[in-house]
Symmetry: C2
Subunit: 149 residues, 2 copies
Amino acid sequence: MSRDADSKLHAWAVLLGAHATLVEKIEAALAAAKLPPLAWYDVLWELEKAEGGKLRMHQLAQRVVLSRSNLTRLADRLENAGLIRRVDTAHDRRGYDCVITRAGLAMRGKMWPVYKAQIESLFSEHVTGEEARAIGDALTRVVKEARGS
Amino acid sequence: MSRDADSKLHAWAVLLGAHATLVEKIEAALAAAKLPPLAWYDVLWELEKAEGGKLRMHQLAQRVVLSRSNLTRLADRLENAGLIRRVDTAHDRRGYDCVITRAGLAMRGKMWPVYKAQIESLFSEHVTGEEARAIGDALTRVVKEARGS
DNA sequence: ACCCATTAGTTGCATATGCAACTACATCTT
DNA sequence: AAGATGTAGTTGCATATGCAACTAATGGGT
């Protein structure tokens, strides 16, 4: 039991280290290809996945796990770059829909191969299929609990 | 094979989400207990683990995965708070050793229970021992490769 | 011994981030 | 239908972060 507890704390520590190391390398690869940072990718991807390519600001903030104030400015930059647009919604005059533009779709398309290549060489290559499934299952459960309750 | 590739990409995506979600919650818990952020904990812990409670700046930067410039200022804050000290090393007049102070040890001791409680309720509770071992093993390998080559 | 490339660490600058306060609108309660 | 309460999003401010340029010291090659 204490053995288990230790291996869990250890797993968390290693997860932190792996995250930091890989994200740093991925950001470097994107920058080297003169592409925007990972945060931009996340926003574009969430929008592209969403029904009609649009989401409300607060939904987007939740999905990319950013404070709302932070998302406001991130959205400013993306809008400035022409990759998204803010359009008024019919039903709630307080808020907007963020919509991905044609240029946004193109940019995500350009970022993905670079990103994917990094994930594969840094992560996938060194992880077995079984481990990947364990990671996916376990962390899906973790996220669900953390957000649900 | 494509099945495997997908589950690996998926695992990475979930890992990113889990990291963001949990770190956010842990930071909130530390702040609520009027304790310093996670980054401070990392520095203190690396120093405490190290031989003689001291490390060179660049070693510390590597271990906490921070750019050197960033570590300079993080160290400033910690030094300012009396938790670490910078002392000249005998052998290299360019650099310093960062040493953890008595107050630094005490602070890490105060932070750990709060941090640990969060890890357990957010992570350990929802992960089996087997999954934890898979995560630890796989990501240890990943980090080693990413840093080694 | 001397220069050159390298390494350690800090700083200027631009950008990114979170919190709390704010405005504007929506919704609930009575 | 009016006022209280809550929600959407933005902004001011303080802090945090990375990159590139800088200073200082080391070490290797000749």
